[in-house]
């Protein structure tokens, strides 16, 4: 059955995501699911005339769930990479995902990204950010060491505990975290490495394409009339220039 027809007739679009990925998805102080994704999908829902049903699960369960058809698409978002594009369909980018460094507040030994040379850096296992920081490390005079975590929150906890010197993650995430916890963390600017983007994900199954086309169209509309930029301002404190479509990602 065609997915678009199914979603339209049910009036529900189910979206898988992890709610521990601020500022895209998280649980706020009042205990509600909030973040850019929540606001953006509300707009998408309005455009398409459907309700959004969130399926919340840990990141390691998200892609298996998508493939198994547990939900229609994945919010996440995920960094758009060549390898992933081979397997999944990415919609239009919703933010920049270029990697930056998060350090402990008051750590003077890291002022610019190159200062991580010779240090221990954490990142999520099997993430694009890990690959990027490893590439970046090779260009430094002293090699860096990396430690891989099942989730970024464990990496942040370890940075706070002082076991690692820095965490490499996408700028929007770490900027938000540093802003929330200024006494614990600080962002090291500028971002480094190749420019990458965040996008929502769907499968390449033929029956899903009409649905993804429809969501993408809604997204484009939201982007064109400036609603996306406003949301970016709200959640990241800045807006990003993003291409309409990434056909040949840098990584």
């Amino acid at each position: 059955q065609d997915s678009l027809e199914r979603v339209k007739s049910a009036g529900v679009l189910s979206v898988g995501t992890e709610t521990a990925f601020a500022p895209f998805d998280f649980i706020d102080e009042t205990g509600t699911h909030a973040g850019l994704n929540v606001d953006l999908f509300e707009e998408i829902g309005k455009e398409m005339g459907v309700e959004i049903k969130w399926v919340e699960l840990p990141w390691e369960g998200v892609f298996p769930g998508l493939e198994a058809g547990q939900f229609d698409m994945v919010a996440g978002p995920a960094t758009i990479t060549k390898a992933r594009m081979e397997r999944y369909r990415f919609l239009t980018p919703i933010a920049e995902a270029t990697v930056a460094i998060l350090k402990k507040a008051g750590d003077d030994s890291i002022e610019k990204p190159e200062d991580i040379a010779g240090k221990l850096v954490g990142a999520g296992k099997a993430t694009a950010q890990l690959a990027q920081v490893q590439e970046f490390g090779k260009t430094l005079p002293e090699p860096i060491e990396t430690r891989e975590y099942v989730g970024y929150n464990e990496a942040y906890a370890d940075l706070a505990a002082g076991r690692i010197a820095a965490v490499a993650n996408s700028l929007p995430n770490i900027a938000y975290l540093a802003q929330q916890q200024p006494e614990v963390f600080a962002t090291v600017l500028p971002p480094f490495g190749l420019k990458t983007y965040f996008g929502y994900i769907g499968t390449k199954k033929p029956e899903d394409q009409s649905l993804l086309d429809a969501v993408n169209a809604a997204l484009m509309k939201i982007k064109e009339d400036g609603r996306l930029a406003k949301l970016q301002e709200k959640w990241f404190g800045q807006s990003f220039e993003t291409p309409d479509e990434v056909t040949d990602p840098n990584v």
Partner: protein, 222 residues
């Protein structure tokens, strides 16, 4: 969805290395825990009352909370009280403490299951308390608690999977990572299942052999 193990088999050396990490952490922590657990049970039995109560509280707390929560608090909370451990030492410590609590309960029950008469008989022929523990209680207990210890070791084998959250490069972390890099999630899970099943069946088999060898020390029918 198609199932294709080829992608994963290409990474076999990494997987075997992780398998080895799992196995050695499991063995070392369990061996330590058996000795410590015996020590705790002995202190609770022969030590002063306050020590018994204190140890009991600790054991109950450890047995009453998930290993995941304990490990998280130990690894990420430890540094705030000056205990900053690397992943493997932290994992080893966490596993050892967790298993010690369980083993100590097995040994405590073991102590209670030894007929009082056996101890009285030893007192009557003049053995000292130390000699009674060494010569009578320990060997008798060994055969009483062996089946439960094997059981416990098997349970702990499966708990090692949780060490992944503190980045110990064990089987679940490594196979899971390979699975998501290669987008072969289901294959990775099936492979994991197979590895653990093999280990568990192997331990069960070895346990049964050990039990059979000890069977002639059954309690005499009296």
């Amino acid at each position: 969805m198609s199932i294709d193990f080829g992608l994963i088999f290409a990474r076999m050396p990494e997987i075997l290395a992780a398998f080895w990490v799992t196995v050695w952490i499991w063995i070392v922590s369990n061996v330590l825990a058996v000795f410590l657990g015996f020590g705790v049970a002995t202190l609770r039995r022969y030590g002063p009352l306050w020590l018994d109560l204190l140890l009991r509280l600790l054991v109950e707390i450890i047995r009453g909370t998930p290993f995941l929560v304990q490990l998280f608090l130990l690894y990420f909370g430890g540094p705030f009280i000056g205990l900053s451990l690397d992943p493997i030492p932290a994992g080893l410590l966490g596993m050892t403490v967790y298993s010690t609590a369980y083993y100590s309960e097995i040994f405590r029950a073991g102590y209670n299951a030894i007929p009082v008469g056996h101890i009285e008989a030893a007192e009557c022929v003049g053995l000292t308390r130390g000699q009674i523990i060494r010569r009578i209680l320990v060997p008798e207990m060994t055969m009483l608690v062996l089946p439960q210890c094997v059981n416990m070791a098997i349970l702990m084998m499966k708990e090692t999977a949780i060490l992944s959250i503190i980045t110990v490069p064990e089987l679940t972390l490594v196979v899971g990572a390979i699975g998501s890099q290669q987008y072969a999630f289901v294959e990775a899970m099936l492979l994991l299942a197979l590895f653990y099943w093999f280990l568990v069946e192997l331990s069960g088999f070895l346990g049964r052999i050990a039990e059979a060898r000890l069977s002639k020390f059954r309690f005499a029918h009296s």
